[in-house]
């Protein structure tokens, strides 16, 4: 059972942390994962993209995906590559607080107002984890608890104060999907 996703956005939205959390959660759960990153040079505002492929034993994947079954769109800027790789009818999970879902064609588009949800969960900086919680619940590769554990592992000591908020965001994102 194989899953692939390209997460696209701009620097500062936590794209890389989202992707690594997903890949690590899968790994800890005994699955194989491949994670690749492509970032611009700037600290904020430049392109940020990551791809995660998950599979059982024998994962074969290219570091630059020729196609993907899913994309998570955190921002409309720099999203052309990821959307260009989405298979017809593939899943486009869109952060509708920022990106316009209506602009995406030929995909199963699911809009998640991640910023609003994050604020409501008192996790204003964790929109990315809202999206991740939603994605994981849609695709059922790893559960929110596993994502939470992986996130805990990845968050550096000087950001430890954000762990609780990130967990809330993951739950809120998952909850959005379940409620829909």
């Amino acid at each position: 059972m194989r899953d692939e996703v390209i997460i696209t956005g701009i620097g500062g939205q936590g794209i890389q942390l989202m992707a690594k959390t997903l890949a690590l959660a899968a790994t800890r759960g005994g699955l194989q994962a491949m994670l690749t990153s492509d970032v611009g040079g700037e600290m904020r505002g430049g392109p940020s993209q990551a791809s995660v492929v998950v599979d059982d034993e024998g994962l074969r994947a290219l570091p630059i995906l020729p196609s993907t079954k899913s994309v998570v769109v955190m921002h409309h800027k720099h999203s052309a590559f990821a959307l260009g790789r989405l298979v017809p009818g593939g899943l486009a999970l869109v952060n509708s607080s920022v990106a316009d879902p209506a602009a995406i064609r030929d995909a199963e588009v699911i809009a998640v107002p991640a910023l609003e949800i994050a604020r409501a969960a008192d996790a204003p900086n964790a929109a990315g984890f809202v999206m991740l919680g939603a994605y994981a619940t849609l695709r059922l590769i790893v559960d929110v608890a596993a994502l939470g554990e992986a996130m805990r592992e990845l968050v550096p000591p000087y950001r430890a104060q954000h762990v609780a908020a990130n967990l809330r965001a993951l739950e809120a994102g998952a909850g959005t999907v379940l409620a829909a």
């Binding site: 790994t27 005994g30 194989q32 990153s37 290219l62």
Partner: protein, 358 residues
């Protein structure tokens, strides 16, 4: 779920670090330069934990010479850089070869443009550098341990040709120690103990020995070293083929490029094209005999590499029918200058193969 705890999510630099430590590497020196820096960072954190030493040297020149010293003292040592930094290490690589000192060199290259540098070398004298080119992180892990073994076995500097995708892609990987068989003791290594005995050890590229025990001198020594590399050329060439047995069109590619070509081969086969891949695993010694055999029945031999045509020279030399060789690669660089450009992608590769096979 027994594999769950053993398997880690590592990028190539972290995985190579763990693999090197598992192989007994206890000395590393390097200088930060993309995309090698991750290897230096990982070694810096992990080697001391394993009882080893990692030095952030003042330049690549010092890094390789520190590693040379550690090797001369009998430790399993390594260094690395990308092609730009390896350019500074060329003299020392020759020195290692002519001193018959083992060293593993990690070329975390920015692209495939360092093929000539790796296989022809830029140092002085008659030496060759055994070079392995993994196609992905799991293979890089395996090659790392094999290289420490081969370096000790042949008493020579050896190289892993990596790239940014291998350096920076994370995969779930096990890094277990692998056993490649017994090796002779390093009785040539310096520890001071033969001082004052009249037979004190000497490591010198000119191998003239001591006044009381003359050595073979440069003529005898350099001929012996050259002969050793001839031996390695005869025994250590490695290659792989993928769906090549009945291929009309054989694509030749190494490293990450080969990984992409494999995928394209599958796509084209599904469309009915008889296409396959020949992948040199050692860049030197180039698996010429294997290539000659693999190209016997191919009407087209397409060389795909991300440079202006370097492995192309070796392919031309050994292909069964030279006239069948065409170059479908090219220089393709990421906007940052630090990684591969748009040519390393399934779409463009597929197009080029189809165009050449038409």
């Amino acid at each position: 779920m027994t594999a769950a705890t053993a398997r880690q999510l590592h990028d190539g630099c972290a995985a190579i670090t763990e693999s090197a430590i598992a192989a007994g590497c206890r000395f590393f020196a390097g200088y930060p330069i993309s995309p090698f820096t991750g290897l230096l960072e990982n070694m810096s954190r992990r080697l001391p934990e394993a009882g080893g030493h990692c030095l952030n040297a003042e330049s690549e020149i010092e890094a390789v010479n520190m590693a040379l010293g550690a090797s001369a003292a009998g430790a399993r040592a390594a260094t690395g850089s990308c092609g730009q930094g390896l350019a500074l290490m060329q003299e020392a690589i020759a020195e290692l070869a002519l001193n018959e000192l083992p060293l593993v060199i990690f070329n975390m290259a920015r692209n495939q443009q360092d093929y000539f540098q790796a296989t022809r070398g830029g140092g002085w004298g008659d030496y060759r550098t055994l070079t392995l080119a993994p196609k992905d992180v799991p293979e890089a892990v395996e090659h790392t341990q094999l290289l420490f073994h081969l370096a000790d076995r042949y008493r020579a500097p050896v190289m892993l040709y990596g790239d940014p995708l291998i350096a920076q892609t994370h995969v779930s990987v096990d890094v277990a120690a692998r056993d490649f068989g017994p090796l002779p003791a390093k009785d040539w290594a310096l520890d001071g103990s033969s001082g004052g005995t009249g037979h004190s050890r000497q490591i010198w590229t000119w191998a003239m020995g001591k006044a009381t025990e003359p050595g073979p001198g440069p003529d005898g020594h350099w001929r012996a070293v050259a002969a050793k590399f001839d031996e390695i050329a005869g025994t250590e060439a490695r290659s792989e083929t993928y769906r090549a047995d009945d291929a009309e069109t054989l694509v030749v590619a190494f490293g990450s490029a080969a990984l992409f070509v494999e995928h394209v081969v599958d796509e084209l086969r599904a469309d009915g094209h008889r296409v396959g891949l020949f992948r040199p695993v050692t860049l030197w010694p180039f698996p010429g005999d294997d290539l000659a055999a693999a190209t016997r029945n191919a009407s087209r031999v397409l060389v795909f590499e991300l440079n202006a045509g370097q492995m192309l020279d070796d392919v031309r030399q050994f292909t069964h029918d030279r006239g069948a060789v065409r170059f479908i690669g090219g220089v393709s660089i990421h906007a940052s200058g630090l990684s591969f450009g748009p040519l390393l992608d399934v779409g463009p590769i597929r197009e080029r193969i189809l165009e050449a096979a038409a």
